[in-house]
Amino acid sequence: MRRTVLALVALLLAAPAVAATQQEVEESLTCQCGCGLTVHACNHLDCPSGEPMKKEIAERLARGEDKETILTAFRTRYGEKVLSSPTFRGFNWLAWVTPFAAILAGALGVTLVIRRWVRAPAPRPAAPPPVAGELRQRLARELEDMDREP
């Protein structure tokens, strides 16, 4: 289980390096028109922010710039908020790592707890209270009879 999670995390973080496409760059940037969508997803009619950005990305790609250069250019102009997901550096690193760290810590906790429970001796069923016990056993017995499949 833990190994599966680790393997998946590794898979996830080792994002394959492929040639930057228009769509990829557009998806890495947030439209500044206030729609909250990525530049790629924003489809506002003649969006004052998204359309020029799309055009500029296309021009830069045509000039042979790589994804990083283009993103840096936009970042210098608009600030970090133009990137559609946090960078991996500095404080932002926490954004990426914390969810997985929390889940791994949780997995460790669950594993330890289960291990402790597995080792604990199986308790005998608590002695039923003397007066109620009789009634309760009868009730349980009758309920069981009723639940039995016909």
Binding site: M1, T4, V5, L8, V9, L11, L12, A15, Q23, E27, S28, T30, G34, G36, L37, T38, A41, C42, N43, L45, D46, G79, E80, K81, V82, L83, S84, S85, P86, F91, N92, A95, W96, T98, P99, F100, A102, I103, G106, A107, V110, V113, I114, W117, V118, A120, P121, A122, P123, P129, A132, L135, R136, L139, A140, L143, M146, D147, E149, P150
Partner: protein, 662 residues
């Protein structure tokens, strides 16, 4: 008339406050007449809120533009169904609507429990009335829906055009129903903590409410996705918007609860954990409302921004303090002597399922609040957008899907090697065959590949359960196959209803994976008669048509759709212009089949030249999202349908609770 509405809300607040005090006092001192009095007060609150809601609805329908709310969210030309929807279209109305649902559910709970759960009920009533006091206070002191304009408006500003849509009629009520009904399990959890009656009684009593709330949260989320898909016109259905996240988080935690409560019922373990999950679900519904209403985090849902944020945060802190305090106080009594026999058991699978569900909820929470955190810590605004959530949640989702295949088939307590072989040989083989077939079909290795193969594995375990159960009945009872299947499900509604829900979940996973991995997009500017390609389709732009009425004007581009040289459809994506708010919208046109949606958006139109910009998406498998939703709803109905066996179990627990403790 609006003054009567205002008066009703004020009186409702007084009665609700009385209900809290009388409920707590009656519960602590065990005064039956006080408890009844608190319940009667709650009925009165319901009656008063119904009056207030009816008056606001009447004002909307009569276009009474002397009211600020009516003037802001409707107009005289707004179609009637959307005028009704304007009741929850704005903040004030939606808070009133929320109060209406809350007091309605309080009334139902009280009627259900007239003779049952008498020890818990005073605190249940008091808790629900505390929530009501909060919402009613907002209506009385902060944001009055019956506020009059200094001068009556001659015409209303109209409902936001984005909300003038069929799905918007049912998405918010459904989501609110899910949100608000989460208060009922919460109230019972608080009552259990307050009274110390921490056994199975409260969990069994709220089982149906928890399911009800979960089902409406599921439905609300899917309807919201459907609305976004049809109305926002960017080709997708989920954007990890803060408000979408707000509705998704309680759903995740509630899902975790529905699974872990089964362990409590079977093995008397995890009592503390289950209480925590119920408290957390409720807290997340309040947090969600806070996100929607505060505008702290920018969102496409910020139809209504306001200064209500601090009130919600205050209430949230209050809830967490009271609930946390009670929990800490009762912690010693909640501990049970848990034991487990093996990692290879259904208990363990469920524990990991809970871990992943709560983990995803945390990841979503973390991503949603991280921009705020970044601004506090670094003073830098950043964006945590869809790419973040997709990358973080996709692997977690796969683990969850895998566990959905393990959970139903693995044995309780300890799975022997024999049990494992018997349970998983078939499904694993099916998954492997599916993977081979996918590889042969040249589906690239990736999330979609993994999702499809795991999906087949999960369906394999579920199908096997149905098949074996049916065969057993056929062999033992000599029933015909359909009858055996029917009775199998009918006699074990929770179990087989749950399996059906899992089938729906697989369908949704497949839709999400397929539509994300294999979508095709194309955009071209065309003049009449021009063609463009979108995947296997050819699109020919024929002409534009236009139409106008008092409410809106519309412009549609007629596009014929061709495939393999044959015309298969004509689609007409539209641009609309709503006259009162002076706002344009896009209306997508779609051709949906089980294998894919062809989704057309009219980008722009230039009248002199007749040029249109057409955006086309081919979204594979999206239909399975909605089909999955329908299957889930069906499964939930099966699960919730009352059964004699369960009534006996509840009666048994009630009997147990009434036996004096030693």
């Amino acid at each position: 008339m609006p003054e009567v509405g205002r008066l009703a809300v004020c009186l409702a607040l007084l009665f609700a406050a009385y209900g809290v005090l009388a409920g707590v006092a009656g519960g602590l001192r065990r005064r039956a007449h006080l408890v009844r009095s608190a319940e009667h007060a709650a009925y009165a609150v319901f009656g008063l809120v119904v009056i207030a809601t009816a008056i606001l609805l009447r004002a909307l329908l009569r276009h009474d533009f002397t009211l600020e709310y009516v003037a802001a969210y409707s107009s005289s030309t707004l179609p009637t169904q959307y005028t009704v929807a304007a009741l929850w279209g704005g903040q004030k109305g939606s808070l009133l609507f929320w109060s209406f649902l809350l007091t309605l559910f309080t009334t139902i709970v009280q009627v259900q429990n007239r003779e049952r759960n008498r020890a818990l009920m005073p605190f249940v009533t008091a808790t629900l009335m505390t929530v009501a006091v909060f919402f009613l206070s907002l209506l009385v002191f902060v944001t009055d829906p019956f506020e009059r304009l200094p001068v009556a408006a001659r015409e209303g500003a109209d409902l936001n055009p984005l909300l003038q849509n069929y799905w918007m009629m049912i998405h918010p009520p459904s989501l609110y129903t899910g949100y608000v009904s989460a208060s009922v399990p919460f109230a019972f959890a608080i009552a259990a903590l307050a009274t110390g009656q921490l056994g199975d009684q409260w969990t069994r009593s709220v089982r149906r409410w928890a399911l009800f709330s979960w089902a409406f949260l599921s439905l609300g989320n899917l309807l919201g996705a459907r609305w976004a898909y049809e109305v926002l016109g960017w080709g997708g259905y989920w954007a990890w918007d803060p408000v979408e996240n707000a509705a998704f988080m309680p759903w995740l935690v509630s899902t975790a609860y529905l699974h872990s409560v089964m362990i409590q019922e079977k093995r008397d373990m995890l009592r503390v954990w289950n209480v925590v999950l119920v408290l957390l679900t409720f807290a997340l519904t309040i947090f969600g409302t806070f996100l929607t209403r505060s505008g702290v985090i920018s969102s496409v849902h910020s139809f209504t921004q306001s200064g209500l944020g601090p009130f919600f945060i205050g209430f949230l802190v209050f809830v967490l303090l009271v609930a946390g305090g009670l929990l800490a106080y009762r912690l010693p009594d909640l501990r049970t002597r848990a034991t487990m026999e093996s990692f290879l058991s259904r208990e363990a699978a469920f524990l990991f399922n809970n871990l992943v569900l709560v983990g995803i909820a945390f990841a979503v929470f973390w991503g949603t609040v991280f921009p705020v955190l970044s601004e506090w810590v670094r003073g830098v605004k950043i964006t945590v957008g869809p790419p973040f959530f997709n990358r973080v949640n996709a692997p977690l989702g796969l683990v969850l899907l895998f566990l959905a295949g393990v959970g139903p088939a693995i044995a309780w307590r300890r799975a022997s090697p024999r049990n494992l072989r018997r349970a998983f040989a078939g499904p694993v083989a099916a998954g492997v065959v599916a993977a081979a077939a996918l590889a042969l079909a040249r589906v690239p290795l990736g999330y979609a590949f993994a999702t499809f193969a795991l999906g087949v594995f999960v369906l394999g375990t579920i199908g096997q359960e149905f098949w074996r159960g049916m065969r057993a009945r056929q062999a033992m009872l000599h029933e015909s196959a359909p009858r055996a299947l029917g009775r199998l499900v009918g006699k074990n509604r929770r179990r087989y209803g749950g399996y059906l829900i899992h089938v729906g979940v697989v369908s949704i996973f497949v839709a999400i994976a397929g539509s994300n991995a294999f979508r095709i997009e194309a955009q071209e500017t065309l003049k009449p008669g021009d063609e463009m390609a979108a995947g296997k389709f050819r699109l020919r732009y024929e002409r534009v048509t236009s139409e106008e009425n008092a409410h809106l004007s519309r412009l549609a581009a007629e596009v014929s759709v061709w495939r393999d040289g044959k015309q298969i459809a004509t689609l007409a994506p539209e641009k609309r212009f709503y006259k009162k708010p002076q706002q344009p919208t896009t209306e997508v046109a779609m051709r949906s089949t089980l294998s894919e949606d062809l989704y057309l958006v009219l980008g722009s139109y230039d009248p002199p030249s007749g040029l249109v910009t057409l955006q086309a998406f081919v979204n594979p498998l999206v239909s399975w999202l909605w089909i999955g939703g329908v299957i889930m709803a069906g499964g939930t109905l099966v699960t919730m349908w009352p059964s004699a066996a369960e009534r006996r179990a509840v009666a048994y627990e009630l009997g147990r609770a009434q036996v004096p403790a030693e």
